[in-house]
Structures are given as structure tokens and as C-alpha cells.
């Protein structure tokens, strides 16, 4: 009976087929899983890098191969084979010698053994002999005999050994001679090919091999693959992932493989060498890769090994497009800490370099910071670490004595129409307040401010110019006494530290300017303008010259007419902030037109924040109006109001827009007058704005562990305090100092007439003298037309500056004065002789004859040496003045370390210089023969 077909719910063949299909799909997906896990983008980069390295090594090899002198190599090889042939001929001899040497070595061994045994006997005999002799034992004699008999035997063994050794050496020499030629030629060949062999080895190392491929294969690549993720684990740095701190791990070097290697400077990205390996990455640099990593400076996600997820940021629009096409790049919208665009990387320096006026080598950041300081950003915006900055605008406490209402009105309407270079920004009539209605209101606000300032200003006593000024002489003085170190004028513009000297005739009156020039602090005690100690005539002349310049277009600008109803409307707007409509109406009705204007003025000043830069009465304690910027480098992008403006949604794009067009984000919005954005327009150039963006991105309160920060020691702190003062008072406008060339020096053809270089000043002058000089300067170099002004530094400022100079020169601050080096009467005599022979007084004197030559041919008064100079410095200066101050008129008297007077002090140059020094410190000028005062009198123009 045929088996009965079992009824089944499924068809077996069909099931088998499906099973086969599913297995295949499963297998396929398994393969796919393994493959997708295996084929990471970074592996592709690593393979590319290996290829690059191989190519490079091959190129090197080819280059080296070319360099190898083939002819010479052939010659060497010929010599080598010739040597080998000869050697082969003498092979029998060679073998014989080898045998002989082996035999001799054995002999030597035997003799040496015998000698050592005898020596042991001798030691033992000596021990007993000494012992018995000390105890008076009769056996001493026996051992005495033994010792005596041993001595000649030992001697003989020694001689035997020496003679064997000599013979062995002889044979060895003969042996060496036989093989010398072969070894020598082989060495020559090796030497000729050394470089090539080295590169061949290198190439073999980098070249992919089958073994390497197997180790990199999927599933077994966990053992020891050559392609692997590279990472730096940073012990002291953390990533802040909101609520969790994670140790920083940077895997950037997984793809940026050439970053810390030399020779990839021109390689394609991501393999390029770091552009500044001496400053970053290399182990000897201040920022070694192992300690600092990458993302602490560049930003981005260091944990990621994917191009997109590590949050790369393109340099510009063009690169963005390229990346989108090539890598399907898109911005990581939700990842706030993206890689900083390359033009802003310096922003990261401040994470560790805190409390410094300038970060070394971060030029753009420093520039941005300086701009922020110059334009008074810190007046409105609180920024941690910058609280010690100053108000940048002039004080308006007594403005009535200086300016008239019409000028202030025109100025507020448009500051740049008076002076294009002014730092005063434009507050009114900007793009968001440009409607006729807004203009009317702004005009009313301006009139209000003018009224408030006039009403709330004190008055200072002004002195009338006593005589008529000489315009030409005034112009000459402006060029020659130092105004140009801070002010732009006369076609010279080294900086815009002070206002440009133009159009003054349209701005101020003669009595104010004369009084101001005579003593700026009389009008404004807080001004940074120093006192140039001008004589009456000089002040009058300069005033006459400055007042002769007018800005006629500005003077002709029509004054706005303000409608009383607009003023009423605005006053009501303010009153209604605190009062009900009816109460406000009643209040308004009570006010006189003047009172309304003054009220509106006060409100406007407080709305615009004028007091951030200017001292204004009634606003002594008002809080600044701007947003705090202390952590703006990390500000969440979604909290920035981009409005309806189409720019990239990044911090840097927003900052840039805001700086270039501060009101732009009001575009397309409906806002009331007082709701509108009010940051004023500074007119920054693109370059300035970019530097400021770098600065803003640097404002970052990320916590970096103290041990990773660049902490300052006491001396460095003192230097930084000084640096801030130097920046505040623009010392580097005139003086070369702290690695920066004095700006005004570029305008001098004869540098001998330029303000002195102050590099190393702390090693040159005595602290006490410097302190006094800073407080009350007097002319040291009467031939200079530039005048060191009186800044009226107080005790604290002066001592900060002294510390700054002395620390910069790597010296210890010492107010005690000098300990004069010891000397002898003879040395002083010699010093005097040298002083006279070198004719030092030809230049170093101040009297009537030298004045006749014109002031430019004098040198510092040497009677000052005792109080002014440090003793070591004098010797260094005498050694080579040009090396210490290029262009100086002081000649070297000891060229090439030779003295022109070989008879004095044996011609010893150092001794001679010391003798001159000792004489100088004890030098007193000869009393004048004619009845002139002993202290030389210098005309006022030179010595003030």
C-alpha cells in the first residue's frame, strides 16, 4: 500500500524555497551589517594617507637615487670585488692566522690562570706571615721564605703573558690587514647608499602588505589592525555636556594624520601639517598635542570621527557649497560647540590666557580687544575681566564752557559730518528710525539732550589768550612737539588715539582752547590728555593755528526745528511709564517748555546710554544699558534674534551683522519708537568688525582647570598692570616699547630725532629717578623737539609703571638707590683721561656754545648719571651703543672690542669702560669761568 500522503498545512518545496530566500537575505544583511560597520569614512582617509606617504617616500627615493653618483658607485663596487678576489687568494693564509690566534689565546689563558693561582698563594702567605709576626710566632720566618720564593714566579708569569699577548696582537694585525681592503670598500659602498637604504626601509614600513591587509580585515581587525582610530585623551580638560562633565577625548588625528608631522605642508586636507608647529602640537611647543589636544582651541566634537558630526565649519560660502557637494555636509544645528571658522580660532586663546592685556601672537584677537577698548564697548556692556577700563568720551560735566548748543545739536545729528574719523557713533536717524515720524522724534530728543546738558553743566574759569597767536609757528609746533603721537593732523596719521585735529575753529572758542592747551586737567580732571608744559606763547600759537581750521559744511548744516507737540508726545510716553494717563496729562500741563525739554533730555540720555562714555551730571551711578557679554562666545544661537534677516544662523554671522548694521534685526518689524534697537552705528570696516567678532567669540566663561591655564606670577601680573596703563595713555604712540615700534617713529627720516626707544629702560635707569620722572618729566634730550608730556601720574600709577619697566627688563625692583662699584684713585684718573681724550663733553654738555650749533647736537646731561643711570647699563652702552639703540648719535668708541687708546689701563677695553663709568658717577662739571649760573640755563623752548 503506498504510503498515504500526509496532509500538511504548508507545502514543503515552497517552504524550502522561502527558507532559502530568507537565509540568503539574512546572509546578505549580515554581510551588509559587517560591511557597514567595517567601512568607516576615516578608514578611507587613512588608506589615502598611506598612499600619500608611499608616494612621498617613492619620490624621495627617486630623488636620492638621482643624487647617488652611479659612476662612483660602480667604481666602488669594482674596487670591492677586486679586494674580494685578492682576499680569496690569501684565504689559506687567513685561516692559518686565525688558527694561530686561537692557539695563542689559549696560551694566554693558561699563563693568566697560573699567574692568578700564584697570586692567591702569595695573598695567603702574606696573611699568615703578618699574623705570626704580630704574635711573635716563629712560623713567621717560614712564611717569609714562601713569600720570597713566590715573587719571581709571579713576575715570570706576568712576562710570559705579555710576550704571548704581543705575539697575538701581531697576528691579529696581520689578519686585519688581509681583510682591511674588503671591509673598507664595503663601508664606502654602504656610506654612498646610506640615505637610500634609510628611505627604502621607511618605504617598506609604510607600504601596505598582505599581512597588514589580513589584520585589517573585517571580524579580525580587533587584534592588531594598522588602520585604527587615533585619539588623545586629555587628562585635565573636560567637555561640558550640560549636567555631565566628560573627559576630553580628541580623535581629530584619526583623519588629520599629517598634522604633527613635517613634510605635509602642501598636502591636501585633511593631511596638511599644522601651519604653526613650533607654537602648537609639537612636544617642545607651549601647547603640546598630548596635553592640549585640538578641540579646546578649534571647538567641535572631538569624540566624533565623522566629518559632519565632528561639526566642521566652512571658511566661507564657497567652501560650504563645495562641502555640500563633496561630503553631503550640513551644519549640525543642535550642536552648539561647532568648530570655529579658521579666521576666528584665536578666540579660544582666552580660555587659558586670562588677565593679560594682549595674548601673545593672537594679533586679530588683540586688535578686536583694542577696538572694543577704544570704542568704549565696555561702557555699555559689562564684560567680566574688563571692568577696569575707562570712559572713552570726554567729560561733559562742564561742557557749557566748551561747546555751544548749536554745535552739540549738529554733532548729535551726525558726528561724522564734523569729522569722519570720530569714534563717536551715530545714534539717531539710522535705518530703523528713518521714517519722517521717527526723525521728528529723534530731533526732539536731540534738542532735549542739548537742553539737559546746558542746564546741568558747571562752568570753569577760562583764561583769555594774552597775546595774538602766530599761526605758522603754531602749525610748526603741532608737527614738532609731539601732538602727532596721539592726534591725526598735518597729513600724519599714526593712530587715532586722540581726536583728529581738524575743524576746531568750528567747534571751540579761543579762551577754552588756550586754557585747555595750557592745562587740560583744569577743564577736565579725568582727561587722558597730558600737559605739554607749553609756554603762553606756544599755547597761543597752537590755539591760533587749530582755530584757523574750519569745517564750513558742518557749520552750514541747518538746525532741525522741533515741534512742541512732538515734545509733548514724547514726554507723555515717558510719564505714562509710571503714571496713569490723566495724571500724566496733569503733570505735563504743569511743565514749562524748558522743563519739558530738560525732562525729555534726561530720558533720552538714559535711553541712549550717553553716560557710558561721558561723565554727565545726574548719571553718576546709572547702570549701563547694554547686554552683558561675559559669555557671548558660547551664547546659544537660538537666543539671538535674527528677525527676518537672511544670514547664516551662527554666532559669528549675527555678531558681524550687528556690528556692521546694529539696527538691522529690526528690519521688517513693527515696533514703537522706544522699543527699537538702540545700539549706535560706529561705522566699522569689515576688517574691524571681523576682529571684533573674534573678540566677542573669545568672551567665554568655560571653566578650564587652573593647572591648564597660563597663570601669571607676581612679576607678570605687575607687567600686565603696566601694560594696561601703557595702553590707556598710548605710550607706544611715541616710544618703542615691549616689542612694539613707536608709531611716530615711522615719520622720522633721522631717527636720532625721534622719541627715545624704551626697550630695556628698566635696566637702564634707576627706579627712584624713573618714578620722579614719570610724575614730573623734564627734558633729558634737549635736542628733541618732541616733548615728554606730564601725565600727572599719581603714586600708584607711577609705581606700577616702574614695576612694569623693571620687570620687563628682568631686573629686581629696587628703590634703595645704587651701590657704586669700588674703584681706585688711579682708575678714576684714567677714567678722567679717557673722558677727556674721547672728548665726551663735545656733545654731553649744555651751555651757550653748544646751543649755537642748533639744539640737535647735544646729548644727555652727564651730571644726571648719578641719579639716573644704573651702573651696569653704562658699561653695556659704552660697549656698543648701536646694538642697544639703532640710529643713536652716540658713537661707539670701542669698535670690534679695540680701544683707540692702547696705553691706558693696558688697553683693556672692559677696564677702560669701567674707568669711564666710575669717573661719570663722581663727575661734577667744571664751574663756569664767566659769571653764569652754575646750572646751565636752557631757553624755554627747549627745556620748557
Amino acid at each position: 500500500m503506498p504510503p498515504k500522503e500526509q496532509p500538511t498545512l504548508y507545502s514543503v518545496p515552497k517552504t524550502t524555497v522561502w527558507f532559502a530566500i530568507v537565509s540568503l537575505v539574512l546572509l546578505g544583511s549580515l554581510v551588509w551589517v559587517v560591511y557597514s560597520d567595517y567601512a568607516r569614512e576615516w578608514k578611507a582617509w587613512q588608506r589615502k594617507f598611506i598612499q600619500l606617504k608611499v608616494e612621498k617616500a617613492k619620490a624621495e627615493l627617486a630623488a636620492v637615487d638621482k643624487k647617488v653618483d652611479q659612476k662612483k658607485l660602480e667604481e666602488l663596487e669594482k674596487q670591492h670585488s677586486e679586494a674580494l678576489r685578492i682576499f680569496q687568494e690569501h684565504k689559506g693564509e687567513y685561516a692559518k692566522l686565525e688558527k694561530e690566534i686561537a692557539r695563542l689565546d689559549m696560551e694566554i689563558g693558561k699563563v693568566r690562570d697560573r699567574g692568578q693561582t700564584l697570586k692567591q698563594f702569595q695573598d695567603s702567605a702574606r696573611y699568615f706571615f703578618e699574623k705570626y709576626r704580630a704574635h711573635g710566632d716563629s712560623r713567621a720566618a717560614e712564611y717569609q721564605q714562601k713569600l720570597d720564593s713566590l715573587a719571581p714566579q709571579i713576575e715570570k708569569a706576568k712576562l710570559d703573558q705579555e710576550s704571548h699577548e704581543a705575539r697575538r696582537d701581531e697576528k691579529q694585525k696581520a689578519l686585519d690587514e688581509l681583510s682591511a681592503k674588503v671591509r673598507g670598500t664595503q663601508k664606502d659602498i654602504d656610506l654612498a647608499l646610506a640615505e637610500k637604504t634609510r628611505i627604502e626601509k621607511k618605504l617598506a614600513n609604510v607600504q601596505p602588505t598582505l599581512a597588514k591587509e589580513i589584520l585589517n580585515a573585517p571580524m579580525i581587525d580587533f587584534i592588531a589592525p594598522s588602520l585604527r582610530i587615533q585619539q588623545v585623551v586629555l587628562e585635565d580638560l573636560y567637555d561640558d555636556y550640560h549636567f555631565a562633565k566628560v573627559q576630553k577625548v580628541d580623535r581629530c588625528t584619526t583623519c588629520h594624520l599629517g598634522i604633527d608631522q613635517k613634510g605635509f605642508e602642501n598636502a591636501p586636507q585633511p593631511f596638511k601639517t599644522h601651519p604653526n608647529p613650533d607654537l602648537f602640537l609639537s612636544p617642545a611647543s607651549p601647547h603640546p598635542l598630548e596635553k592640549v589636544g585640538c578641540t579646546v582651541c578649534h571647538g567641535g566634537n572631538g569624540h566624533s570621527v565623522s566629518f559632519i558630526e565632528s561639526a566642521h565649519t566652512p571658511r566661507n560660502e564657497e567652501q560650504a557649497k563645495e562641502w555640500e557637494k563633496k561630503y553631503r555636509w550640513h551644519r549640525m544645528e543642535k550642536w552648539e560647540n561647532r568648530i570655529l571658522p579658521l579666521n576666528h580660532t584665536e578666540a579660544s586663546c582666552t580660555k587659558c590666557h586670562k588677565n593679560v592685556v594682549e595674548v601673545p601672537q593672537a594679533d586679530k584677537l588683540n586688535k578686536g580687544r583694542k577696538l572694543a577698548e577704544t570704542y568704549g564697548c565696555f561702557g555699555c556692556h559689562k564684560v567680566e575681566g574688563f571692568e577696569n577700563r575707562w570712559k572713552v568720551g570726554p567729560s561733559l560735566l562742564d561742557v557749557r564752557s566748551k561747546l555751544d548748543k548749536d554745535w552739540i545739536t549738529r554733532w548729535l545729528e551726525s558726528p561724522k559730518s564734523f569729522r569722519d574719523s570720530t569714534k563717536m557713533p551715530q545714534f539717531f536717524h539710522l535705518e530703523n528710525t528713518d521714517s519722517s515720524q521717527d526723525r521728528e522724534m529723534s530731533d526732539a530728543a536731540i534738542e532735549g539732550i542739548v537742553a539737559y546738558l546746558a542746564k546741568n553743566s558747571g562752568e570753569v574759569a577760562l583764561e583769555k589768550p594774552p597775546v595774538e597767536g602766530n599761526i605758522e609757528h603754531g602749525q610748526k609746533l603741532v608737527k614738532e612737539i609731539g601732538c602727532l603721537g596721539c592726534h591725526t593732523a598735518e597729513g600724519v596719521s599714526v593712530n587715532y588715539f586722540g581726536p583728529e585735529l581738524s575743524g576746531m575753529g568750528s567747534k571751540v572758542r579761543a579762551d577754552w582752547l588756550y586754557t585747555w592747551l595750557k592745562d587740560p586737567k583744569h577743564y577736565s580732571p579725568s582727561t587722558r590728555m597730558p600737559n605739554l608744559r607749553l609756554s603762553e606763547q606756544e599755547a597761543v600759537d597752537i590755539a591760533a593755528y587749530l582755530l584757523s581750521q574750519h569745517n564750513e559744511t558742518f557749520e552750514k548744516q541747518p538746525l532741525p526745528s522741533v515741534k512742541p507737540e512732538v515734545v509733548d508726545k514724547m514726554v507723555m510716553m515717558h510719564l505714562q511709564k509710571n503714571l496713569r494717563h490723566e495724571e500724566a496729562r496733569a503733570e505735563l500741563a504743569k511743565m514749562s517748555p524748558e522743563a519739558k525739554l530738560e525732562f525729555l533730555g534726561k530720558q533720552s540720555i538714559s535711553h541712549q546710554g550717553c553716560f557710558a562714555c561721558h561723565d554727565i551730571k545726574g548719571f553718576e551711578d546709572t547702570k549701563p544699558i547694554g547686554t552683558e557679554l561675559s559669555d557671548h562666545g558660547r551664547k546659544d544661537v537660538y537666543t539671538l534674534d535674527f528677525g527676518l534677516v537672511h544670514v547664516d544662523h551662527t554666532r559669528e554671522a549675527w555678531f558681524f551683522q550687528k556690528l556692521k548694521k546694529p539696527r538691522i534685526f529690526d528690519e521688517g518689524k513693527e515696533k514703537l519708537y522706544y522699543e527699537k534697537l538702540r545700539m549706535p552705528h560706529f561705522g566699522f570696516t569689515d576688517e574691524q568688525a571681523e576682529s571684533l567678532v573674534t573678540f566677542l567669540l573669545s568672551l567665554n566663561q568655560e571653566v578650564i582647570p587652573l593647572e591648564m591655564q597660563r597663570r601669571l606670577n607676581l612679576k607678570e601680573e605687575q607687567i600686565e598692570t603696566g601694560r594696561l596703563l601703557v595702553s590707556k595713555f598710548n605710550c607706544q604712540g611715541c616710544h618703542t616699547l615691549d616689542g612694539k615700534e613707536g608709531l611716530i617713529r615711522s615719520t622720522f627720516t633721522d631717527l636720532g630725532g625721534a622719541p627715545p626707544i624704551l626697550e630695556g629702560e628698566g635696566a637702564k635707569v634707576q627706579e627712584k629717578w624713573l618714578d620722579g620722572f614719570l610724575k614730573q618729566p623734564s627734558a633729558i634730550r634737549p635736542w628733541l623737539t618732541y616733548r615728554m608730556p606730564t601725565f600727572s601720574f599719581d603714586d600708584e600709577q607711577a609705581s606700577h609703571l616702574v614695576q612694569y619697566f623693571v620687570n620687563l627688563a628682568h631686573q629686581e625692583v629696587n628703590y634703595k638707590g645704587l651701590v657704586l662699584p669700588e674703584t681706585t684713585p688711579q682708575k678714576l684718573e684714567d677714567g678722567k683721561l679717557l673722558f677727556e681724550k674721547f672728548q665726551c663733553v663735545k656733545c654731553h654738555k649744555v651751555d651757550r656754545t653748544s646751543m649755537a650749533m642748533g639744539a640737535s647736537f647735544l646729548a644727555p646731561d652727564l651730571t644726571l648719571t648719578k641719579e639716573r643711570l644704573k651702573t651696569d647699563w653704562v658699561v653695556n652702552w659704552l660697549k656698543d651703543p648701536q646694538a642697544m639703540q639703532e640710529g643713536t648719535m652716540m658713537p661707539g668708541f670701542f669698535p670690534d672690542g679695540q680701544s683707540p687708546l692702547p696705553d691706558v689701563l693696558g688697553g683693556d677695553v672692559l677696564q677702560q669702560m669701567e674707568a669711564i663709568r666710575d669717573y661719570l658717577y663722581r663727575y661734577a662739571p667744571q664751574p663756569a669761568q664767566n659769571p653764569e649760573p652754575p646750572k646751565p640755563e636752557i631757553p624755554a623752548i627747549v627745556k620748557e
Binding site: 672728548q839 663735545k842 656733545c843 669698535p895 683707540p900
Partner: protein, 239 residues
């Protein structure tokens, strides 16, 4: 005696060799005159009263020396040199120094040429302090005090520069100018107002004439044969 004869013969041979070689290779020359047009500016007497030593050396006074017009209507102290046309040729600096004297509180010569690396021998013939302060912009400055009468110092310039001013800070009227060149093809007009640039090979040259007060003028010249002597003329006008 024999030795002497041999060495003499060698010397003679060398001389013949030299004579035979050099002129055949480089015999062309450029000569010329520096004419001056217009009236010579008045030369005010120099005030040397600042240093009595200097004053005593000129009992009859001395007039300013920035413009000297010779009696034959030519201009003295004009530096003439080959500015372009030598290509990449290099010329060894002569070991022979250029003598530079400070005498009577004036520089002698006032205008001169010198090759890069050629020593400048500076002499102070005066019994007073001079400082030679050279203010080149391309070489390093030097400023040497020379307090002793008769003392000599040697210095060199490291880079070509036309002209390098040399001044004395003690005596403001003293000024000299050195034309520092990489080659020996230069001349300075003297009392006759003439100059000569010798030993040139045929070629195209740009010649420049420089004067302290009247600035520079250039002239292009072609030398076609090895024994040619080209005569060129520069004219400076009174300003």
C-alpha cells in the same frame, strides 16, 4: 741669484699673461662730462663756530660744499654708475681699501663709490672728535667715535645702496655720500667735471648720474665693440 732670476721670469710671465688677458676682454669705456646750466647757487660760508678746533683750521672761512660748480661750467661730485645691464655677473670685491679722510672738519672725498665688501679705511686727520655715522638702510648702520688724531678704522658695507649718507653728529655740516655697488663700474666727476667708467664689455647699459642736491638722471647706452669708448653727457640745471 738663480732663484731670483726664476722668480723674476715668473713675474714677467704673469704680467704678460695679465696684460694679454684683461684688455682684450674688457676694454670698452664710458666717459663723459657733467654740464651745469644756469647760475651756480651762492655758497654761504659754513658756520663752524660750534667747534673752535674746526674754525681754527679755516682761518679764511670755508663755503658750503653741497653744490660745487667748476670754473669750466661743470658740476663736481656727481656719482655716475652702471645701474642696469650687468645681469647676474658677480665681481669680487677689491682688497684695496677706499681711503676716506676727515680733514679740516670736512670729508675727503665727499662723494665716492665702493664695492660691497670692499674695506673703507676711515682716517681722522683732525685734532678733534669726529664720529663717522653711516646711515644705510640696507646694510647695518655704524657710528664710530674717532677721538684721536691720526686714528684709522676699517668698515665694510654688506648690501648695495645708492647712496649711503655718512654724517658726523658732532659737526652737523659734515656729510659724505657713498655709492655702494656690487660691481666696479662707477666714477665721480671731479674738478674738470668729467668721469670715466672703464673695463666694460659690449652690451646695453643704463647709466645713472646722482647729485646730492639735483637728484638723479639716467641714460641708456649701447656698447657694440670691445674697444669702443662711448662719450655721454649729463646736464644738471640750477633749480
Amino acid at each position: 741669484m738663480k732663484k731670483n732670476k726664476v722668480s723674476m721670469m715668473i713675474t714677467v710671465l704673469i704680467l704678460i699673461f695679465q696684460v694679454a688677458l684683461i684688455p682684450s676682454a674688457q676694454a670698452a669705456a664710458i666717459t663723459g662730462k657733467i654740464a651745469f646750466e644756469g647760475t651756480a647757487p651762492a655758497s654761504p660760508p659754513m658756520a663752524m663756530d660750534a667747534d673752535p678746533n674746526c674754525q681754527m683750521m679755516h682761518p679764511d672761512g670755508v663755503s658750503a660744499d653741497d653744490v660745487i660748480v667748476n670754473p669750466n661750467g661743470t658740476l663736481k661730485n656727481v656719482f655716475v654708475y652702471v645701474k642696469e645691464g650687468l645681469g647676474d655677473q658677480t665681481f669680487e670685491a677689491p682688497k684695496e681699501p677706499v681711503a676716506f679722510n676727515q680733514q679740516g672738519c670736512q670729508y675727503h672725498p665727499k662723494v665716492f663709490g665702493i664695492q660691497v665688501g670692499q674695506p673703507l679705511e676711515i682716517l681722522n686727520s683732525d685734532n678733534t672728535l669726529h664720529n663717522v655715522h653711516a646711515v644705510p638702510t640696507k646694510s647695518t648702520q655704524f657710528n664710530l667715535g674717532m677721538p684721536i688724531q691720526g686714528m684709522k678704522l676699517k668698515k665694510t658695507f654688506t648690501a648695495p645702496e645708492v647712496m649711503v649718507k655718512i654724517k658726523c653728529d658732532v659737526h652737523p655740516w659734515m656729510a659724505a655720500y657713498a655709492g655702494v655697488l656690487k660691481h666696479p663700474f662707477f666714477g665721480v666727476s671731479g674738478d674738470e667735471g668729467t668721469f670715466e667708467i672703464k673695463n666694460l664689455v659690449p652690451g646695453q647699459y643704463v647709466i645713472e648720474a646722482w647729485h646730492e642736491k639735483y637728484g638723479t638722471q639716467t641714460f641708456s647706452v649701447t656698447i657694440s665693440s670691445a674697444d669702443e669708448t662711448k662719450d655721454i653727457a649729463f646736464t644738471f640745471k640750477a633749480s
